[in-house]
């Protein structure tokens, strides 16, 4: 096997220049590892620029003693350090330079000692060292180098191999040490960058500089499987998933295409792969029996697995509940309509209880939601005058502390929710939210259920009727007219935003017509059209 007993400064410079080119090839991949939100973004690029500064500086010294070159590399890194990883890298080179002080050339054991000093220096330079980062990687890598020397080896290649292998393992292990990496499903970017540099150096020692031009550095995979991304909570309906059915089918003259065609109608996520004698089949089906019956008519079945996915989904939801961040104060909103539910979720409502005008939720429904949320302090937004009282009953049924902000309309609920102050306590927030209700006016446009006379208005069945903050003020055959009649009663001088939530029975095109008509009359206003999906009410309009 190839051995390198010692190298001088010229070779040290070449070794690190090769390592820098090696890093360059994967700099953007390393950038991509950055976990949101990590300060000073692009780790790969930052490390590369730091290395380049080192190499440039090392070329400025004509001297080829290892000591001088190492000093230059450390100085270049210090002056050109970019980002946290660059600063740590510069510390490593500083330690390395100290380790190689006064040496014309160095051996494997010198290198191991110098890397050890680099590791120590890296830890010293950081006010608050965090494990699971480049720091851990340099420490574990340099320890492995030391161990290799202790086992009697003084050859540079074998010391560097031990170092690189340990660095590889250490990088893969970073998500175990650092939760933020684990959540993002990536390894530490700085650690990966350092590994690539060390590995590039090893390849130089092995004399592979030529081949490296055509290769790319290896990106290390996390040794923890990628976590599942969690969808938002507050599923209103459960979609049945059925059974995940998998097996191996063995027979003669199997026809995978035909099997695929036959099974397609039986479920979803169908996969059939194989040949005439063996086929692997995977399907999500509500009726695994019929799949099995069909398959067993074609041959023999092996490794049969049928799993209930609804159960898995339930477990998943449970896990999600456990994992849901414990919010200090939870908010529960009563909302009907998929669009409105999305609006409330997007504004940070902890849980949504379906319900509204014609389907008022029960106290039990609300209590259930209160029990589910991971907080002892809960604010309820009824968003309907017929739900306020129900909501007020919840307090007597739970140990948790409940505040009901008696919002009577959807816009009042939105205004209250927006006012939520992340820095304020429970009582203050409830107070702020109660006050916020009055900052918004609500127009609702619906259809008359029957003919009647009210507030001096003659109303025919199915005619459009308009309410302002719950009071019936206009009726007519044309929806837009009715809305305009009510808008005309308002003083819009201080208004800034009008939001139009259009209902399930209303077309977007019509809603946009309404928006255009308002915009024409009141050009200074910002008008926003949002799909509310609420039943019965063509429009719910928020004026603030």
């Amino acid at each position: 096997m190839k051995q390198v007993d010692s190298i001088n400064g010229q070779e040290l410079r070449e070794m690190l220049a090769t390592a820098t080119s090696w890093l360059e090839k994967s700099a953007s991949d390393v950038d991509a590892l950055n976990v949101f939100p990590v300060p000073d973004g692009d780790t790969g690029t930052n490390m590369l620029l730091t290395m380049r500064s080192s190499i440039e500086e090392s070329h400025r010294t004509g001297n080829s003693s290892a000591s001088t070159v190492a000093q230059a590399i450390a100085k270049g890194a210090l002056m050109g350090a970019r980002g946290n990883s660059g600063v740590i890298l510069s510390q490593i080179w500083r330690g390395l330079a100290q380790g190689l002080q006064d040496k014309e050339s160095f051996t494997g054991s010198d290198l191991a000692d110098a890397l050890q000093q680099g590791s120590t220096m890296a830890y010293k330079g950081i006010s608050n060292p965090v494990e699971g980062t480049i720091l851990t990687v340099i420490r574990e890598a340099s320890e492995a180098g030391q161990a290799q020397v202790a086992s009697g080896s003084n050859d540079l290649i074998s010391v560097m191999e031990a170092t690189v292998n340990a660095a590889n393992e250490s990088v893969a292990n970073t998500p175990t040490l650092l939760p933020v990496l684990r959540e993002a499903g990536v390894v530490d970017a700085g650690g990966q960058g350092l590994y690539t540099i060390l590995e590039g150096a090893l390849r130089y020692l092995r004399g592979e500089a030529e081949q490296m031009q055509f290769r790319k550095p290896q990106m290390i995979a996390s040794n923890i499987p990628q976590p599942v991304r969690l969808p938002q909570m507050a599923a209103i309906e459960e979609v049945p998933y059925g059974y995940c059915t998998e097996f191996l089918l063995k027979g003669e003259e199997l026809n995978p295409d035909r099997i695929r065609t036959r099974l397609r109608r039986k479920g979803e996520s169908l996969i059939v792969v194989g040949d005439e004698t063996t086929a692997r089949i995977h399907i999500h089906t509500l009726d695994p029996g019929s799949v099995i019956r069909y398959a067993s008519s074609l041959g023999t079945m092996h490794q049969v697995s049928i799993r209930n996915m609804d159960e898995q989904h339930q477990d998943f939801l449970e896990m999600q509940k456990e994992r849901a961040p414990a919010v200090d104060i939870a908010t529960i909103a009563v909302v009907s309509g998929d669009g409105l539910a999305d609006v409330f979720s997007s504004l940070g409502t902890t849980a949504i209880v379906p319900g509204g005008q014609t389907m008022n939720p029960s106290t039990k429904d609300l209590l259930q939601a209160v029990n589910v949320v991971a907080s002892d302090k809960v604010i309820i937004l009824p968003n309907n005058k017929n739900v306020v009282l129900t909501a007020e009953q919840v307090q007597s049924l739970t140990e948790k502390r409940i505040e009901v902000v008696p919002t009577k309309t959807i816009p009042q609920g939105v205004a209250a929710l927006l006012t939520f102050d992340y820095e304020a306590d429970f009582e203050t927030n409830a107070q702020l939210m109660k006050e916020a209700q009055s900052t918004v006016k609500t127009i609702e446009i619906t259809r008359a259920m029957r003919s009647t006379q009210l507030n001096g208005l003659k109303i025919k069945k199915k005619q459009a009727v308009g309410l302002l903050d719950g009071e019936l003020l206009a009726a007519g055959d044309d929806t837009i007219d009715v809305l305009n009649k009510i808008l005309a009663k308002l003083d819009l001088k201080k208004t800034e935003i009008i939001t139009i939530y259009y209902g399930a029975d209303t077309e977007l095109a019509e809603a946009e017509q309404v928006s255009a008509s308002i915009h024409e009359q009141y050009p200074q206003l910002q008008v926003e059209v949002v799909q509310g999906g609420q039943p019965h009410y063509n429009y719910i309009v928020s004026i603030e």
């Binding site: 939100p37 300060p39 973004g41 210090l78 970019r82 660059g86 997007s346 940070g348 820095e423 926003e528």
Partner: protein, 281 residues
């Protein structure tokens, strides 16, 4: 020998103020692709925001290398034997590490104290200004260090953002992440808490946002210093200052623009105010 005061460009201290009070400002770097600029040195705020809104290239930023701090230390060490460095929050940038790193490499004998302000923009700026004033009237390094630590607890920074897009893209949204993804157009109000960007609340319009800033400031009865700054909204900033003039003398309000580096995250149309409360006697 008077203590020399050093900070970074995210303090939003303008060159006028810096000169007047003898503060050295070390710039961070902003990149548009391969082009790099020194914050407030080789790129003006106007040029920067023009590029931010008109360029397809997304800018990135980075802390000054330790060498930049070392150069400053070496130069200042010619004139003094005590330097105080106050940087923006370590949760937002590694600038503090760079400043700390360079400390041990200074050639001359010089005491250097580096403090993580746990805040940013004029939240940091007003602390630095207070320190610089005290240094001018002869306070020594230990007194100044204590003064800065006390001022940190009295510096109240809040910002109105026209959009969270830039902050989210820049990866510095911190605890304000929950404000993202709203289906309605909302304008976030943010603060810096324990060194990190944290959400305060949301409003639906510029008007409501300005009211919030106004009410925030007038809620203090003990204002020592006040700063109003913006990214691309000079008219709104003027209006706010005008409105505040009955609360606080207009000419004493520090005006600034939010530095490009921070502007990368604030985006256009952002406004920030800082109240430095006076020390209770």
């Amino acid at each position: 020998m008077a203590v020399k005061i050093v900070t970074d460009s995210l303090s939003d201290i303008t060159s006028d103020i810096a000169e007047g009070l003898g503060i050295t400002v070390v710039p961070l770097t902003v990149f548009f692709g391969k082009e790099s600029f020194l914050d407030r040195v080789t790129i003006t705020t106007d040029e920067f925001y023009y590029r931010l809104t008109h360029n397809a290239v997304w800018p990135t930023t980075t802390q000054p290398p330790p060498g930049d701090f070392l150069d400053v230390y070496n130069k200042l060490a010619e004139e003094t034997n005590e330097i105080l460095v106050v940087t923006l929050s370590t949760k937002l940038s590694g600038t503090y590490e760079s400043a700390l790193n360079a400390k041990g490499l200074v050639e001359k004998e010089c005491r250097i104290e580096v403090i993580d302000s746990l805040t940013v923009a004029m939240g940091l700026g007003l602390i630095v200004i207070a320190a610089a004033k005290a240094a001018q009237s002869g306070a020594k390094l230990d007194e100044l260090t204590a003064l800065v630590r006390r001022a940190m607890t009295r510096s109240n920074f809040i910002a109105y953002f026209d959009t969270l897009k830039y902050l989210a893209k820049g990866g510095r949204i911190g605890k304000a992440q929950g404000l993202l993804g709203s289906l309605l157009s909302v304008k976030p109000l943010l603060t810096v808490k324990d060194g990190e960007i944290a959400p305060l609340t949301r409003v639906r319009s510029l008007g409501a946002g300005m009211d919030y800033l106004y009410n925030f400031i007038t809620g203090f009865s003990n204002i020592e210093e006040l700063a109003v700054e913006h990214t691309t909204a000079p008219d709104e900033a003027d209006k706010l200052v005008e409105r505040l003039s009955s609360t606080f003398p207009k000419e004493r309000i520090y005006r600034s623009t939010v530095s490009p580096v921070l502007g990368v995250y604030g985006g256009p149309g952002a406004m920030a105010v800082t109240v430095l409360e006076s020390e209770s006697k």
